[in-house]
Symmetry: D2
Subunit: 314 residues, 4 copies
């Protein structure tokens, strides 16, 4: 399996982790889910991310999970593994084991203690040293999920200038500079200040996908439970049909917006994946949200409306 | 002019503050803007909010601004004034002066130092004491704008139980519990645990308006530059036509989403108000965002698409 | 070995983790260090705490470390193990393994995502459920080390009322309410609102030890590199000689203050332990501080002054 | 009165704001307090700082306060006024009025929204522009009081390189890099990277004063209620008697440490100033701490011990 590099593009789907009602890892559902994602046409998978409940797995479960996904994927698409950890020892251990299993690369967000530009850069330098020269990684710029830690443009430039294994940016600085940051990194690549790295869109959890593509994103890395929307939007955009990309995006936007609520989002996502037959239970390990009857009524209405809209759209 | 009370409903529009290109307050535009808002059918105005650049005004300018708005409104709708301040002395001073001028009430968010439930409640107790028994106020629950300070349901209940002048909740805990909080406060009112207070929707800057109305919100308090959307959605909902409310909402959602970007949003809003003829300049006082050519291209595309969609919708 | 319970008292010394110059765990130094601590008269040890560089160890290293300490201690004093983790799965795994090895109990701080009183209580409820009824634990109230998360008095009361395995409070809410919180928890015990739990002092890293003892602390849990000071202060206080306790404390205060600098403190501590012959290297794993020549000059001056003062004191 | 410049040195005492028991400004006490401070030999005063309860004053009270202090000082020492505000308009207004009254300069901390290095620098650029070329200012680097905002060494260098009116650093990045930062700024001045600016020590509220002087601080700017200690330490250090400086410092350290507790400190300070006859009431405006009987017992013991120690010291 080739490793992740600066040319990565398309839709890297951030996976959920299926549990049984009793809380155990559900490996059968994991197979089904993997098939579901691949069936939607995604170009890659990202596992053990924030929405993958990574911190709720034991080290052994994490390895089991990654091994199973890799086996099911069978090399058809690259698999990126989130390895952010409270310390470099654990990060290094997990990264080594998943790369040995056949992962294409890993994803790293900044440490919770980072406060200044120099600290942010130093963190990624140490992470890269920990991972070693054979492990390419995606820089996850997502302050909401990383204790508010900022990776401003000058820091990202330093990272991509100094660290050859930093090959990709997951763009999710939201609420924040958002699209302007994407434009700035792309422009820095265009002017030769940095290598042209891969940038995958995830701002607001994908709520700005068409605009990010217009700014030069190479695709998306996020976790909406209708991956076919992202695949379609990226394809339409690549084909030059920007209005079609927006039409498709707009049809799914009301539900996508609902799924991107930070507190409740994972429960919405698992409910939708359950309804779509991709997993067998919507169980979430503690601490985690739970849908109310009112939430379900909201979602069911949005699904019905989305179906009508898609029919109209053709 | 009657004062704000628990029965408030409809759309309280959060106003921007128009400046001239040289940065001075633009009182002529303020008149035009007030007319524009009233022309859209709003039921109230909220001035000197976060998006009103309140901290960038001198005390004198704040008074001038409020006086001018009140004069133009001429008692047709109630005007609520944001009075959050770093200390109670300044809060009390501003509140007294605007109530004397004829404001219907004020809006208060929690102090930046608040960390625990008891501190949050104590803060509002001290605020109420500062404001005095003749000044009704709206509790602004908006962690993103108030240094991450949380007002969980038990705190809100204590506030509404103990403080008779706390008559309204501006619901904007997002990203956060969002809709579940609205349901909980409404349910507490239903069970008689607290008075039935007014709840105005603002979650995600209005991005969940139809769902908030379904949960029992009495209207909206936020600042989208197409106030007629909110007026229409609230009216359709009140008339029982929930699908129509969603249809209208969905037509504006792509642009509303773009305007609610936290860093750039105010610039988007002023650009739209300028385009709509409501203000004469999109100037923002420092520190503030500025639109790039790419931002403007995004917005113009979204406007065109919105117009087409509205035509289809009829 | 008896398990930790509400009657725990004396000095629980928070250990450092000795590394070799090449960064490997130094188990020989660990034996020497354990002997050194026990030789100072400590009543217990707390390992894998914040100052023990816990997140920088792999899971395997953590177990090796705990096993070695327990073997060297040989049941002479209880050993408490820090098990705070980003998720409950890892917490449960580590806690089980160290309790099986013979630890007396564990220590748990609040999760980084906790914001409200209810969330804080729920976190400890879930932690207790994860740990199980056979694992007593110490509640670590240390916002500076736990992402600013607060455990106000009402939350601590709920924890000690509802959770029988929560037997101890490590009191370190500083800067913050500090001594008032200790008094409040002690008073709640006195009034029968909660069980009388063990409270070990650590406010400001021990910089308020005599005052905390006066408020009813049962001893200290912190990591100054002159443990004999804490042992002596606690003993003098227990013997009713409060002035002697202060005399002893004051003699060490200038150096203790220097060692409690948050960014540099661990490097100061390892330098002092090296000078005292307790460890073979002052190596710290990344990311970590490093002493400058000016720092060393400061410390050496403070040591010399401390020795003179102790001679005067007799 | 000459304006503040890079040559400032000695002890700039941060003043409290005396209130009467009924909460009104106590201008008679203010005169007495001013005399008390000057009688201790301070070289300057800093008013309306964090410990001066600045946000609790109305704009009018702030001006009254500054006017009264300036009148009483009568030009004998420079007076610096804290002007940090939530917006530049209020900052500019207050600064203009106090400079017109005869202040020597102002003090500015970073805005609460600052997150990145570029934002921190831009904030001070805008502040300097707001203040104008005739108003020299002190950069207050005090994350605990400014919402955790960091001013790392590269940012401070940029500020002192680019902004001629930034003439002084109040060094109080604690807990944080502390002394290393002072050394770095001093070294940058030595190497000609920046002008040699004035650096006044305040780390931990003065708890590292002797070490800061050894690193090149030009004096102190903090608010211990025994200003004669700071005057004495600075004088001994300037005279080359470093051990004497430490002796004096150590004698006051136990009480100084107690006064520097962040939550309770202001109440301790006002109690001590009341006992020393400098003010007529220990009233603090809300929200503020209040001493318990146990706190007072602690303080009284520490005063008695301090007096004995000073007698021994001679």
């Amino acid at each position: 399996m080739p490793k992740l590099d600066e040319g990565a593009k398309g839709v890297y789907l951030i996976t959920v982790t299926p549990f049984r009602d009793d809380g155990a890892l559900d490996l059968d559902s994991l197979d089904r889910l993997t098939d579901f994602y691949l069936g939607c046409g995604v170009t890659g998978l990202t596992v053990l991310g924030v929405m993958g409940e990574a911190p709720k797995l034991t080290a052994e479960e994490s390895r089991t999970y990654v091994k199973r996904v890799l086996a099911r994927v069978g090399g058809r698409v690259p698999v990126v593994v989130g390895v952010s950890s409270p310390g470099f020892a654990a990060m290094g251990e997990l990264a080594k084991s998943v790369m040995d299993l056949g992962a294409a690369g890993v994803m790293v967000g900044p440490g919770a203690q980072v406060r200044t530009d120099d600290q942010a850069f130093a963190y990624f330098e140490m992470a890269a040293e920990t991972l070693g020269p054979g492990t390419p990684f995606c820089v996850q710029d997502h302050p909401l999920a990383y204790n508010g830690v900022q990776l401003p443009v000058p820091v990202l430039k330093r990272i991509f200038q100094a660290i050859p294994t930093a090959v990709m940016l997951k763009h999710e600085d939201w609420p924040g500079p958002g699209l302007a940051k994407l434009s700035a990194i792309r422009a820095a690549g265009g002017k030769g200040e940095i290598r042209r790295v891969s940038i995958l869109a995830g701002n607001g959890g994908g709520l700005f996908l068409p605009e990010e593509l217009s700014r030069g994103a190479d695709g998306a890395m996020t976790g909406f439970s209708y991956p076919e929307m992202m695949v379609g939007v990226v394809a339409a955009h690549a084909a030059g049909d920007v209005e079609r990309a927006h039409d498709l995006f707009d049809a799914y936007l009301p539900l996508a917006r609902y799924e991107q609520q930070s507190a409740l989002g994972l429960a919405v996502r698992k409910y939708l994946l359950l309804k779509r037959g991709a997993i067998a239970s919507m169980a979430i390990r503690k601490p985690g949200p739970r849908l109310s009857a009112a939430d379900i009524a909201d979602i069911d209405r949005l699904i019905a409306r989305q179906e009508r809209r898609l029919t109209e759209l053709g």
